[in-house]
């Protein structure tokens, strides 16, 4: 029986290292809750986090900014909640995008994340983007 409380926080300033940290944090969570590598809830969450994290780390640090992406991962009871805050441009036109047809090479990221999470939240607060990803175990 694993723990039902977990908390991880990091500031991310690099795409490759940032993605490493996101995946490592999910691995720590997986161990903390005693789930194996094929646990579907955690696979769904990690897949969605990889999509949103990749977008945020690519577009959320505009040229000239030194502000890192702030990341937190919390488990409270049976609910995993990840938060990513970045200082990139406002995101609007892609949020409702449907899954592209089979021949398209890109444009699936947000549709994949939406499908696999219980909640995917986005809000613009001042000059920051705030993403909230929720998955129930």
């Amino acid at each position: 029986m694993g723990s039902n409380h977990f908390e991880f926080r990091a500031s991310l300033s690099d795409l490759g290292e940032g993605l490493d940290v996101l995946h490592q944090s999910v691995e720590r969570l997986r161990r903390a809750v005693g789930r194996d590598a094929d646990d579907l809830s955690i696979i769904h969450f990690e897949t969605a986090l990889g999509e949103i994290g990749s977008n945020v780390l690519t577009h959320g640090r505009p040229r000239g900014t030194t502000r890192p992406v702030e990341y937190s991962l919390l488990l409270d009871g049976d609910e995993i909640v990840a938060s990513l805050t970045d200082s990139g441009p406002m995101v609007h036109e892609h949020l409702g995008r449907e899954m592209p047809s089979l021949e398209h090479e890109d444009g699936r990221g947000l549709a994949i994340a939406r499908s696999l999470l219980d909640e995917l939240g986005y809000e613009r607060v001042g000059d920051l983007n705030r993403w909230r990803l929720v998955k129930r175990l």
């Binding site: 795409l15 490759g16 993605l19 490493d20 995946h23 590598a37 094929d38 579907l40 696979i43 769904h44 990690e46 897949t47 990889g50 999509e51 990749s54 690519t58 899954m99 089979l102 021949e103 398209h104 090479e105 890109d106 444009g107 699936r108 990221g109 994949i112 499908s115 696999l116």
Partner: protein, 113 residues
């Protein structure tokens, strides 16, 4: 974690590509480079051994779709072998498993190719 790609020749002119690591926005260039070499054979017959791929994202999927187009344009064939649970979840969610019928092992993927 950088993606590393091992290239292994197999029978009948088939090339087996065995990436290790995450096939994501950081790892895609290494796979693209290996595919670029493999399609120099005519017609290109390629098996991607996914056993060492721990995670795939939509950018990684896009690179496999691009490889499939490139190989089919040369009258070749591309097969995927041994995807883990996360890769299967993403292939099925995006319905790309209809385009990439995957095989449990490399040996099965090589059969009849």
């Amino acid at each position: 974690m950088a993606l590393e790609v091992e290239t292994r020749p197999a029978d009948n002119g088939v090339t087996v590509l065995a990436p290790t690591g995450r096939l994501d926005v950081v790892g895609v260039p290494a796979l693209k480079e290996a595919i670029g070499e493999a399609v120099k054979n005519s017609p290109p017959k390629v098996v991607i051994d996914m056993e060492g791929v721990s995670f795939v994202d939509s950018t990684g999927l896009g690179s496999v779709i691009a490889a499939l187009k490139q190989i089919r344009n040369s009258q070749g064939e591309l097969r995927l072998a041994a995807p883990n649970q996360q890769v299967r979840v993403v292939l099925e969610l995006t319905t790309l498993d209809r385009v990439f019928p995957y095989y449990a092992t490399v040996e099965e993927a090589l059969t009849g190719l």
